[in-house]
Amino acid sequence: MKRLFVFGLLLLLASSNAGASGDGILARLDETMQSSSREVVQQMTLINAKGQERTRQIQMWSSRGETDRMLVRFLAPADVAGTGLLSVGDDMWLYLPALGRVRRIAGHAKKGSFMGTDLSYEDMEELGRTGFAAGYRSELIRTEKESYLLRLTPRGQDRGYRHLEMQVCRERFLPLRIEYYAPDGSLAKVLTTMAFTEVQGRPTAGKLVMEDVVKGSKTILEQLKVDFEPDIDDDIFSTRYLERGR
């Protein structure tokens, strides 16, 4: 009887632990945020260290499949409206309406900043298409009343960070705050999310703020429209559509 009790206790402990393991939480988080295709209209506000602001609006279609495809088109300000980028697998095309033609661009620079924001291309991908679990092992540090605190360590060497500290909302399984630590262990960037809503039954953050602690700059991303799993016409991911501009 006593042995049974101990066994039962262990079972209980194990099951509660499994329910809230770091990797498990991360998997649920990815599940909440990922989608095989998506359409987003986003307002990007770039604030530099001096406090000067610049605002742009983009519309973005993406689709995961055999080949990842994405189309980004600028909506505002007026003088850049229609500017577009198309990526299909490793191929990229650029369209500048004022130049009037599509240009194929070689190579793929995933290390750089995403559209000049404080988010890197990879930061952006993790928050949307690829998720975190593929690239990181997760360890639960603490469970708080409303959130979990995770420590994410890269699985491979190719990530630009030493580790991430992520605060995950227990109710919605969305990141509330992510601290990105540089290879030397210093804090590099901080992402905070807010304005939570439900879109198509899925919880989502309406606003993301990424702060570059080193440079002192800040990017605010506001989701003006989010559509999960939209029915995207394959024609959208074509140079012909890219060239149509607006």
Partner: protein, 749 residues
């Protein structure tokens, strides 16, 4: 004076203790004094030029550069490139260095992943000769790089370090200088020179002060032939120097290139008052009235000493009207130091004299060469004042004629000799590249409009056509490159984008690649663009010419165009130097005139003294003009010193004349007596001052050397005139007046 002398003789000990304890207090304060050589500290904070300069730093980032040049056989050899790369990384890591632009990290506009990318011109170091040769061709054929990051002959490379405007550029420069220890690597630019200047000036002072102390001691010993005669005047200057530095430290002021000459000035000038007191004390004591000698001394020369001191103070205070901050502080604190020296001489020295049995000299002073010369001068002056007047006025007049040739120089480079390393580095960068100082033009308007872009382009072309700057760089050059890159590198497209939209789309691509790249060219709202050009000739004449042409060019262009940059500050400083000089000169003369009038109670005395010193100053400026010596941040001080100190000689002579007159001598006899009695003290005083200032000849800075010689020149001239022209004028003046009785003009001393 009587009350003062009574007070001193009654409580000498209390005075000694008070002075010594105050000295200890100020000595503690003196340890807080630091040194600044930042040119912006020369301006009042709200000066429009400084505001314009800060505004551009605010909008576009730093405009202050440190230039590091590497020299070798061939920049494109792997070894040289590796050095440049290592320097680039090392220097960029220094706190306060915002950006380093060098051959190994200069960006090139390329069409890549997210549109166009700003990628490194040099992806990897060339592996063989052939690759090196290819790189060499590519870089040297491109006027974006040739003459800016690499010299056109390919032997030198330049690393431009853009400094964080928030940081102290001089301190950053010191760190940069520490970080480069390779042969064939040089650093230059205003911050570097400032930093070296601060360091070398300290070294210079440490060398000069003992020298001047030694020399003054020697002069004092030759004059008094006893230890007390050396010790007391000395103590005076040491106390006054400590008090002054202490006052600066306690009020949070800093040493500058300008007031670094102050200790030497105080040591040199401050002892004069003591000399006069001691000299008279010797006289009084040797007449056998030892116990009353202190009182008698003060009664006899106290007034003259006070006069000499107050005029000197007035001379230095006249700098307080200057719009140059450092000049005002220099004027104020030097005046303070002189006031202290004066007070010590009038109170402390007599107090010591009444406490201690100071041995006085034997009364055998009337023989020797000096009194003989003075007697001859006195005789000549009394006999033929007309001739003396004509000869001296002629000499002064010829010298003064050089005054219109006077130039100004606010360039820090002139502080270094041609054969010193900072100067060589400056000349090297000037010769092989455009220069190390930038001219900044800020154009306001709807920048992306082709019309505005074309206007900027033509302004740049016109600026380059003047031949006074290197190739100007602006957002126009960036847009032209992008245009070419997105048109398959076709040089025909190296032109301004045809529409506002195209320009905006190009900039969008650049921002997507590197959000910070554009900040040095254009503001975030595209309402202001910056044109930057390196200035070839930063001499005052070169800058004056440049700004005249720039003003003409910008006037032709529509829209608001502001001009700034370190060179503009230098140019403004030159103008301020001249204006300040004129005001302080006039004020100084007026102050001296009134003071002498008040102290001698004679219109004649004050008029003649002021006339004499005006003449000496004019002669000095003329001398500078003839010799091609420029008025700069240091030599600008000569007129205030000249007026304040130079007038002392006339005042001494005139008060000697007055003393003789009150003793009942006729004017002509009184003149002779004044020359004989006061001549020795005047010559001794002038010799000490001249000797002290000549010590600056041992300085490592040309402006300080000029300064020393010029002040010496003024002193020599002023002292000579006070012994010749002044008595001659007095004598001539009285000759012209009707006299009641003939007197013997050949009175002996």
């Amino acid at each position: 004076m009587l009350a003062l002398s009574r007070f001193i003789t009654r409580r000498p000990l209390a005075i000694l203790i008070t002075v010594l304890s105050l000295t200890i207090l100020f000595a503690l304060g003196a340890r807080k004094v630091t040194m600044t050589t930042d040119i912006r500290d020369f301006f009042p904070r709200d000066h429009p030029e400084v505001k314009a300069y800060d505004a551009i730093a605010d909008a576009f980032g730093g405009t202050e550069y440190i230039m590091v040049a590497t020299e070798g056989e061939d920049v494109f050899q792997q070894e040289s490139l590796a050095l440049i790369q290592s320097l680039t990384e090392r220097l960029a890591a220094i706190p306060g260095v915002d950006r380093v632009r060098s051959l190994t990290n200069v960006e090139e506009v390329k069409g890549t992943a997210w549109g166009i990318e700003l990628s490194l011109l040099l992806d990897a170091l060339p592996q063989d000769e052939e690759e090196a040769a290819r790189l060499r061709r590519r870089v040297l054929e491109d006027d974006f790089y040739a003459g800016s990051v690499v010299s056109r002959d390919g032997r030198l490379s330049l690393l431009a370090l853009e400094l964080d405007p928030q940081e102290n550029a001089v301190e950053v420069a010191a760190k940069v200088l520490e970080a480069i220890d390779e042969d064939g690597v040089y650093a230059t630019g205003t911050p570097v020179l400032n930093s070296l200047l601060a360091k070398s000036m300290k070294e210079d002072l440490i060398r000069l002060i003992p020298l001047v102390v030694l020399l003054i001691a020697l002069v004092l010993y030759l004059y008094f032939h006893n230890l007390w005669g050396v010790l007391l005047p000395f103590l005076t200057v040491i106390i006054s120097t400590i008090w002054t530095l202490g006052a600066m430290g306690l009020s949070g002021r800093q040493m500058t290139p300008l007031n670094s000459v102050m200790p030497v000035i105080l040591i040199t000038l401050g002892n004069a008052y003591g000399i006069h007191i001691l000299s008279r004390f010797d006289d009084e004591a040797s007449r056998g009235q030892r116990d009353r000698a202190v009182e008698q001394t003060l009664l006899a020369v106290g007034r003259a000493v006070l006069m000499a001191g107050t005029t000197t103070i007035a001379g230095f205070l006249s700098n307080c009207t200057s719009s140059i901050v450092q000049m005002r502080e220099f004027g104020f604190f030097t005046a303070f130091g002189i006031a202290v020296a004066l007070g010590i001489s009038l109170i402390f020295i007599p107090a010591v004299l009444s406490c201690v049995q100071v041995p006085s000299k034997e009364a055998s002073r009337e023989s020797g060469a000096l009194p003989n010369i003075l007697r001859r001068v006195a005789r000549l002056t009394a006999a033929s004042p007309g001739k003396v007047i004509i000869v001296t006025l002629l000499a002064a007049g010829i010298l003064a004629l050089g005054a219109p040739r006077l130039t100004t120089n606010s360039n820090l480079f002139s502080f270094f000799d041609y054969d010193t390393e900072p100067r060589m580095a400056y000349e090297l960068v000037k010769k092989s590249f455009s220069g190390s100082e930038s001219l900044e033009l800020v154009v306001e308007g709807d920048i992306l409009e082709p019309k505005v872009l074309r206007s900027i382009e033509s302004l740049q072309d016109e600026l380059e056509a003047t031949g006074l700057t290197g190739k100007p760089i602006s957002i126009v050059d960036v847009l032209k490159r992008v245009n070419m890159a997105l048109n398959d590198g076709d040089p025909a497209y190296k032109a301004i984008p045809a529409s506002r939209e195209l320009a905006a789309q190009y900039l969008l691509l650049l921002e997507m690649s590197d959000p910070d790249f554009l900040t040095r060219f254009i503001t975030v709202d595209y309402s202001q663009a910056r044109i930057q050009a390196m200035v070839k000739d930063t001499s005052p004449a070169g800058l004056a010419n440049l700004f005249a042409q720039v003003d003409a060019l910008t006037a032709d262009h529509r829209g608001k165009i502001a001009t700034t940059g370190m060179v503009k500050l230098l140019d403004a400083l030159a103008a301020m130097i001249i204006r300040g000089q004129i005001t302080s000169l006039i004020l100084g003369l007026i102050a001296v005139f009134l003071l002498v009038r008040w102290l001698t109670d004679s219109w004649e005395g004050s008029l003649l003294s002021t006339l004499l010193i005006a003449l000496s100053t004019a002669a000095t400026f003329g001398f500078m003009g003839w010799m091609g010596i420029a008025l700069d941040m240091v030599t600008v001080l000569i007129s205030s010193i000249g007026i304040g100190v130079g007038v002392d000689y006339s005042v001494h002579l005139y008060s000697g004349y007055q003393e003789a007159r009150t003793k009942g001598k006729e004017p002509a006899d009184a003149v002779t007596a004044a020359i004989c009695q006061r001549g020795k003290a005047i010559i001794g005083n002038a010799a000490a001052v001249i000797g002290g200032f000549l010590i600056f000849l041992f300085s490592s800075f040309p402006p300080l050397r000029y300064f020393g010689s010029l002040v010496s020149f003024t002193m020599f001239f002023a002292a000579s005139l006070s012994l010749t022209l002044l008595p001659a004028l007095i004598a001539a003046g009285h000759r012209m007046r009707p006299r009641t009785e003939e007197t013997d003009q050949q009175t002996n001393c």
